[in-house]
Amino acid sequence: MIELINNIIGNIHSSTPMIRWLVYVMVIVISSVIVLSFALLYEGFATYAERKVAGDIQARIGPNRVGPYGLLQFVADGVKLLLKEDIIPFYADKWLFIIAPYIVFTASFAAFVPLSYSDHVYVANMNVGVLYIIAVSSVVSMAILMGAWGSNNKWSLFGGMRAVAQIVSYEIPIILSLLAAIIIPSSLDMKDIILYQSGGLGIFRWIIFNNPFTLLAFFIYFTAAIAEVNRTPFDIPEAESELVAGYHTEYTGMRFAFFFMAEYGDMFIVSAIAATLFFGGWQIPFINGVAMPLWLRETLQVVVFLTKIFVLIYVMMWIRWTLPRLRVDQLMELCWKYLTPIAFFDLIGASVWVLLFNGKGVYDILSALFVH
């Protein structure tokens, strides 16, 4: 984004420091507003999509009253949540109780920043993008525990404890499986990773097809990611049939909505990471975009990127409405006895592959064979 503004304004570095700072602040504000509105809009439609998908799977209709096809349902829901009475339990730790939803919300949205939506559309291009997202989304677990403890409700506390245990545990297979993918392009920069995956018709150089270990890494990552965002079959922190509503039992109105939106935000983030690291990010499959006009190429790239994300989100919804929930010890067992060791093995395998084939993927090797 800053580069974009740089291009528009031109020689910003030659202007006075005051103007430079002003421009920077403006850029930050404008880009945050854009990202925030995008994220909110996405979340609105994601809740609608969730209900429609659920309806479809459960042989019923889903929302269809507000607006065409019920599309505006989320607006009605949002208004309802805004107008709800804000209840703070008398015995709650008010400070923690109030601040927790904001931290969850902020942490969830901060992760939108380093995403690369297309060649030129991104907020900030960090050289530690992947690390940053993982770091920021870990804050969520802390905030959930704050809210759970602050509620002074035993069910909330159970939910909070479960959430922390779960998120902290599942970060290990997530990071290990991401490492298996990252060592291929040898970069933490989202844009570098995507650029590495160009060529091969926009599909075959995807990191997921790079070698068998990255293929496995994707499945480990996706399983662990579902756990990370607390969705069925791993939704034990808010398991409504056991813990009433888990850590957000005592929250009402907008405070509840923040937790709710953060969950959908997290879904977007984990799917975006998967799309970036395994599915070639915004690389357009089958079409060579070089000859296209810039605006068309950029638009197509954004569409492609979002499509990949939404497919993954759809899969998450599909899983949610199909499977029962694991028990808390079985969840931990899955993480520590299966996912983590397999991810370790996978990381070693991927490293060996990189050493053996000098970083080349299956496609590179095969095409080199056929050319000769």
Partner: protein
């Protein structure tokens, strides 16, 4: 001041909790996720039905039996009617008997559908619940055809049934019988043999045959423990002795005999058998009266009887003492869920909170008949 045991936390599950299946309160002593003792508190739905019975005439009490087990009102009506008829010593017309069996078995299916659905939603899979509701809707439509009500039917009266079936009922029932059995396969594919579901239920809360008998557990819960005891076979009432049906018993397919999965599976098997019974009844249909001649002012001869019938949840018994007047002197209701719930403290030492939900769900208790 009371001494507080710091090793354990007191946790109230209910009276308002998503998976206590009504207003049941369980006081749980927990050490983290592990439950060390459970004390059920019941009576939140106590309506003094036994006292009310002493002030009403015999036919007037029939609608109150609807409110015992509202998911199987027909069966409750039936058991009460059988009790009074036993003292009256009247002959029930053949057609009425067939109709009663059809209604009782259809209601058994619809009740088991709820048992199936609510256990699945307790386990975190909400979709099967709505599948169950979808099929139950069909049965509700059938009942609406015969008596106009969809939940509290008040259809089986002393001496027969309230009115004869309308035109088209037989065809619609046949349609249901063709439609329903394939759905059972769908349930099995979706839920019964799901790996997570089995993991959650197998070997959980095993009821040994001795315990089951000691605690007076009846119905599918008793049969799941491997005891072939079905009142329809052991003490045939109506025309059950002419019908051909199997009594499924727990075989420990996924774990030990009498575990939660076996109890769940009994319901699935019994639905198949009930459908089979209804089909046979339809073939046996013959013309005749739908109700025997019963005097308007019903004076029941003095005497005392204990009559029991196989309800979807177990043995529903009425202990009736008549002093020869128009009102019962004493009517004791022996509700299956009352005994089935009393075993919960025994089952739930050392289980996890999530298992407790599985125990309650697999026992398939219903509160109105416990509290009466």
């Amino acid at each position: 001041m009371a001494v507080v045991d710091e090793r354990f936390m007191d946790l109230n599950m209910g009276p308002q909790h998503p998976s206590t299946h009504g207003v049941l309160r369980l006081l749980i002593k927990t050490d983290g996720e592990v439950v060390s003792r459970v004390t059920p508190y019941i009576g939140y739905l106590h309506r003094a039905l036994e006292k009310i019975a002493e002030r009403l005439t015999y036919p007037q009490f029939t609608p109150f039996t609807d409110r015992l087990d509202y998911l199987a009102s027909m069966n409750c009506n039936l058991a009460y009617a059988l009790t009074v008829e036993k003292l009256l010593n009247i002959e029930i017309p053949r057609r009425a008997q067939i109709l009663r069996v059809i209604m009782a078995e259809l209601n058994r299916i619809s009740s088991h559908l709820i048992a199936f659905g609510s256990l699945s939603s307790d386990m975190g899979a909400f979709t099967p619940f709505l599948f169950g509701i979808r099929e139950r809707e069909f049965i509700n439509d059938l009942f609406e055809m015969v008596c106009g009500a969809r939940l509290t039917y008040n259809y089986i009266r002393i001496g027969g049934v309230a009115q004869d079936i309308p035109d088209g009922f037989i065809d619609k029932t046949k349609e249901f019988l063709d439609y329903f059995p394939p759905k059972i396969k769908e349930y099995n594919d979706l839920l019964s043999y799901n790996a997570i579901f089995i993991k959650r239920l197998a070997n959980i809360a095993v009821i040994s045959p001795e315990d089951a008998l000691d605690y007076g557990v009846t119905g599918p819960n008793l049969r799941a423990s491997g005891i072939k005891w079905d009142l329809r076979r052991e003490e045939p009432y109506l025309m059950y002795n002419e019908l051909d049906f199997d009594i499924p018993v727990g075989r420990g397919e996924m774990g030990r005999v009498g575990d939660a999965w076996d109890r769940y599976m009994m319901r699935i098997y019994e639905m198949e058998q009930s459908a089979k019974i209804v089909r046979q009844c339809i073939d046996m249909f013959q013309q005749g009266d739908h109700i025997a001649k019963v005097p308007k002012v019903l004076k029941v001869p003095a005497g005392e009887v204990y009559v029991r019938a196989e309800n979807p949840r177990g043995e529903l018994g009425f202990y009736l003492i008549s002093d020869g007047s128009t009102k019962p002197y004493r009517l004791k209701i022996r509700a299956p869920s009352f005994a089935n719930l009393s075993i919960v403290p025994k089952l739930s030492g050392g289980v996890m909170i999530a298992d407790l939900v599985a125990i309650i769900g697999s026992l398939d208790i219903i509160l109105p008949e416990i509290d009466r």
